[in-house]
Symmetry: D2
Subunit: 466 residues, 4 copies
């Protein structure tokens, strides 16, 4: 089946060496895991050799692969030192820049000037970016850079100016490589490779997948799951979305995830509910695919299931509880109307409404106490509706999930009381879930209203609430 | 089998519109085929809209596709006008550049400076390059640009400064997209699609394929054919090579192409003869794959056929006759030794050796006249060997085929008298063919000798000749 | 790419030996090409060894493969002897049969009787059939038997009782293997492998494919070509059909095959014309797929091109001229009406109508002589319509093409004057072509009328003609 | 992605109806789940219609599919009635048989006799077999019959003469369809579809797969898993085998299955241990693939990992404890030597050795008591070695696992003390595991010794033991 024999090839051996590089064994320059000072010097010589493309293209690739191999062998401490070398020693060189500028200024004719500008442009590219670009053409090289950026973020790039600049360059590079034009949409089913499904279990960030049975339930005939892939990273999903096909817009996520619930007939469904969307690559933070994924999936569903009438999310309000706490702190009793305050004080048996609300929400089981939940419902829904429609001074929704969907042109459609009673749902969103509606004809208009004018498009019922 | 129905999708419809764009129908802005002045203005507005990415990524793609569509509808005259607009109106803008430079100079700290340099770099990119880059992410967009460059070259880019600068930018773009790391090597056989084989017939540039039977003969079990493909242009070979598996290094191309010759057992062959290598995309002129192709193929052959001992080309000497004519003109009788001169004069019955040689070579059938051919053989082989080992003032071999293989690290191995008696072979190479030997262990060394020191590595027998 | 190395495997080597068997080299028992008597004995011992499955299943397969290998090495004479051995020495053995029958009669209870019947059934299977069945599980074994039957027919099975019985057994075996439930329908396009397209050129039996350009024209966007394949013979088409997508039912085959005619838009077509259907395997004579192929293709076309309204053939009348000659001989002047006779005699300048018609039809160019053609048209169309609607004493149409389509449930729709002016068309059909209409709703009814009652379903216009 | 639209096709709709049939919905004749008498009559009419192939091949297929559909809708009780109808009413018809026999006897010449024998043979085929054969050409029809036989066995075929005869016919049919020549060997990895891997978890019969993590461990880089598939049942493994790549022949299955054990380098392994082989289709009981699977896998491993020196199983001795109990019952004290008896009695503190052994083996934790285990070791190993080398009066090994591997030509190589301390392993095999060695050069010889002469080939150390 597989072919392990290797007689005397030299290029393919080279390339297959390259391939092996990333699995942990081969060449690379030998450096100690924590990259002591002496090894830093040897590392720099290797980088310099990569930057002067001596010896032909295959040799150049081998050297870059060796460098990657060295990196993979490093400890966290070694990796920070490696990244710091890139950040500090391989930025744009001022002298080269001066020279290039001088040549532009001295250019006597259009052709000379054109060439001088090209040289200037080339010299403006930090050498580290030239180096990292070489990885594009290596097997597994794209994945290598994505993971290197993951390291960079995990190892503190945001707090260190030099590393932050390296991160900016790396994000720019990855943004161009991961243009949405290159992405492949694939449906994921129970027929997909276990190795891939295992990644969904690992990466699901919204509603944790508890077991293989839970996962199988999410891939039933009345469910859909889609992911984007990049052709040069074919085994790694970039982002994935989970969809339930139901009758009427769903408002409760526990019902959707109930493994004991009967399967519905997907041909009878009239609504597609996007109930989870997760980025899978930490190294692609800030490179955005979600908008395009939702629209591609809505389109694919519409074509395969013409009976679908609505496309909506079932989303958390992750910023609600924190925002509410801040408001209680800042505004105290003013947060509530008189009747609301009375109701809260009575329910908690306390003197002050803010403290009463805090105490009530702190109870582990308040959602299970029907009378209490009923008394909290109008108050929390009003507050949540207000929160969701509030904008900051840049005209952006204060809730990040709201901001995402509104930017995509969705409409704030409905608030669902006790739509997510999981620990996380109670802690962040006070159990409230939101439907954002994607009506294809209105997307451009809604997007324009929000991004252009900071106006949040909401259904009348939501407006009335808050 | 195929699915033609399309209900209500909007993104996929968009993308499939994009796809259709390139097949000749859809949107685009309506312009007259010869692009009169008024239409030029509308075209520019379209380009400007592409450059300001308003309306989201899908809209941006649609606009670029529309622009491509407009271009495809133009006549040659219209295309020249279109290309001239790109060349003249979308070059780097001096004001933007000045501003960006000023911001760099004013940068107070490292972060600001880093950002300012990135902006400068962005502003150094000619707007037309930004525009053309958008095609990378379009279906068929890569092929579109390759064909646009073909137009550009065919329509006179080399003689027009503005178009030439556009060509430089476009070649730079294509060079980065067609990095050898992205190429797929595929073997082509009689089992390959007829539509692909038809392209070989069209593109073969060295020894014309006369018929499907001729082609089938070149794909027999004792032949090999390989091509490079690019993943975003999967139906189009970029370059292809034809190989004969034989015993001993072959010296005569007519024998290799003889359809009546019996098939040899490939497992018994000890030599792989690369007898034809053709670029298939005029729009990729100057983007080089040949070196890598030969090495990849040698490697693949070596692994699948371990009995192979030699890898060599069978190549023409296309510059020989022209160079010889120049020399005759410049040096006259000094070109020949005394015995050579006598021999030529006797054979032609003329008084002067240069004129005699000219007259003899002008005879249609000289190669068929054994006595005459015998008398010319030592003279022409000596001259050809000299020509092949001559370098110009930059240290480059004067024959372009020699330069290519020597750059790749091959050795000038053998001259073959009457190795190609076709019309073309006689006209350019005086019937002489050359073997360049690729000995894998020596490639790096030979390459260094030639490119580093201008030293041509040749077999002793060749050195003795000239 | 491919893996040629083979270290120490023993089963796969066995199977790959099996595979090689059919390519011409390996084991088999050594017999002289013309299979002299001594070798016949050795052959029989090999067959006997195959029939007693000693040594396990892999050994059994190897022995059968060896036998196949021996067969492939034989001359025509040797093959006849081989086949005669099968036909004469490996038929049902009377003694075994007697014993088995006795055991049935003696069976005391239901179980014993059931077993005895199974044994009887097994013993009724001629040993040669057991032998040939073993080839089903060999790589290439199915193709081997198909080709062996081709030999059998070519070498005279129809005229030799013993070989004819062998042929009956072999056809029965192949009929069960080639059940329509196993066939794969595939569309053939210009993207198909050249090796496959070459076979179409070889096998096309109705309208010869003159060149690769002719073939490419038949695979244009307004043409379709489909074939059936069998999963165990994947490189060999069994039968293929060529279709033209046109406006209105086409009546002239030269127009359809005209390479210079412009391509039509297939989405605008309202009729699919089946203008050629060819069996590709001589060894499958009498195993019928054509009916199912037409219906599967009509179905596929209808779904992919919903604008299609009619599905019809454009077919020759291959028996017409011969039938006409017989009638002229038998009935003389009675064949014609008075006006017809006058017209013929005048046109030919002869005294008798039969002789006149013969003479006129014998002219090479009569179809090009408009006046003459006009005078012949009503006479020949009347006669052809009569011929096509005539049945023999078993109630079958006298024309074999008519019988095929009428059996399939098609309707005799229209006669086309000068629809095929090729040499063959003139010689067999007097240039007349016929459309048989496949109207899906009527197929069952038409089939029943024809096969049940010998009634030919024809359009009113055709009925009026003859 | 998938194509749901269906315009007006009639054949494909038919076939896709067929396909749907098996997914649970469509036509079929409507019968009540428990198949009351009235419905039995309607069922028989449907069967009769299937047997008279009226209306063409497509109709015939549809009717058979409808019948299958009816069957799938039945309860267990209904299925028994259905199967009984097949068993009793569709056996060979005596009258038809008599007539056919008479025609054979009356046959006047060879041709007539040949035809008469063919008719006889046809009439000997029970009508139910003709009926069931029709399912071969249906989509999912093969799987349908395999599952029907599973029902048949589960519903008591072995105890009911009529059903048993039906089972014989069905097994005969399936045996011919599942010839080893048709099987595809596939490697199963963590990249395989989850839906397939889930089946392994369900079907593993030797060492239960406890979780997805357990399964993943069995698919690590130092493990291999292979299965056979049939082309007409592509989603269903028929049989699968699990292999560990280790240094030295492994003797303990818990160590192999330890998820915490480190992965070994497969390139350094010198032994392939087949530690589990499971049939996956209950309906294929008695149709044998295991022998061929082991040899194909050994071959594939040998070629891909040339460093492998040994191929051996790690197998239970499932019949040992039961056999031992019988012997104790029959032979009492005679089972043991004097020293053995003393040792047992002392260990158990009992008066009689048989009772002592029973009591010791009944202790839950005896394997964990080192001193006790040590004292039992020589006794049980001696007895097990004796058991494994004992044959019955037909010359067959008494242990079914031993019989299987010895038939395949393996050698009884080594007994492993406490090789399987799982509950099952202790209960059946007293914790003992056995290695059967597959030495490729000896397979034929060993097979012959065992099957021909009833001689069990064992390693000297095993012979010495018992």
């Amino acid at each position: 089946m597989s072919n392990r024999s290797d007689t005397s090839g030299f290029i393919d051996r080279t390339l297959s060496n390259l391939r092996q590089v990333w699995r942990g064994r081969p060449p690379g320059i030998a450096v100690a895991p924590d990259l002591p000072d002496g090894d830093v010097e040897r590392l720099k010589r290797q980088i310099d050799a990569c930057l002067t493309a001596k010896g032909g293209e295959v040799s150049a690739r081998l050297r870059a692969a060796g460098l990657g191999q060295s990196y993979l062998g490093l400890s966290d401490e070694g990796r920070v030192r490696f990244l710091r070398v890139l950040a500090e020693d391989y930025d744009v060189e001022p002298e080269a820049l001066e020279d290039a500028l001088a040549r532009v200024n001295e250019a006597a004719d259009a052709d000379t000037r054109h060439d001088a500008l090209r040289v200037l442009r080339r010299d403006l590219l930090p050498p580290r970016t030239k180096l990292l670009t070489q990885f594009n053409a290596l097997p597994q090289g794209v994945k290598f850079l994505v993971d290197m950026r993951k390291d960079l973020l995990a190892l503190g790039a945001r707090d260190d100016p030099a590393l932050r600049r390296l991160d900016v360059d790396l994000r720019e590079l990855l943004t161009s490589w991961f243009d949405i034009g290159f992405l492949d949409l694939e449906r994921i089913t129970w027929e997909s490779p276990a190795a891939l499904l295992e990644k969904l279990i690992d990466y699901e960030a919204v509603h944790r997948i508890r077991s293989w049975d839970d996962l199988k339930n999410r891939l039933d005939s009345d469910r859909r799951c889609y992911a984007f892939f990049h052709p040069r990273m074919p085994d790694e999903p970039l982002i994935f979305i989970e969809v339930a096909l139901v009758k009427g817009i769903a408002g409760n996520v526990q019902e959707l995830l109930d493994e004991a619930a009967p399967e519905e007939d997907p041909d009878a469904a009239d609504a597609a509910i996007f109930y989870s969307i997760s980025n899978a690559q930490a190294g692609l933070a800030g490179v955005s695919f979600g908008d395009f994924l939702i629209k591609r999936v809505a389109d694919d569903l519409q074509r395969s299931l013409p009976t679908l009438k609505s496309f909506a999310t079932l989303s958390p309000v992750p910023g609600f509880r924190r925002w509410l706490e801040n408001r209680l702190e800042r505004e105290g009793e003013d947060v509530f109307g008189a009747a609301e305050a009375e109701s809260l004080k009575a329910a908690a048996g306390m003197e002050e409404a803010p403290a009463a609300l805090r105490a009530l929400l702190a109870r582990e089981d308040w959602a299970g106490d029907a009378a209490l939940a009923d008394s909290l419902k109008p108050i929390l829904l009003r507050l949540a509706a207000g929160f969701l429609q509030a904008t900051d001074d840049r005209g952006r929704a204060r809730d990040r999930v709201a901001h995402f969907h509104l930017s995509n042109g969705a409409r704030l459609e409905r608030l669902n009381w006790l739509g997510d009673t999981s620990g996380n749902g109670m802690r962040q969103s006070a159990g409230i879930m939101v439907n954002y509606l994607y009506r294809l004809a209105d997307i451009e208009k809604n997007h324009e209203a929000y991004r252009g004018n900071g106006r949040i498009v909401a259904a009348p019922a939501v407006k009335k609430l808050g």
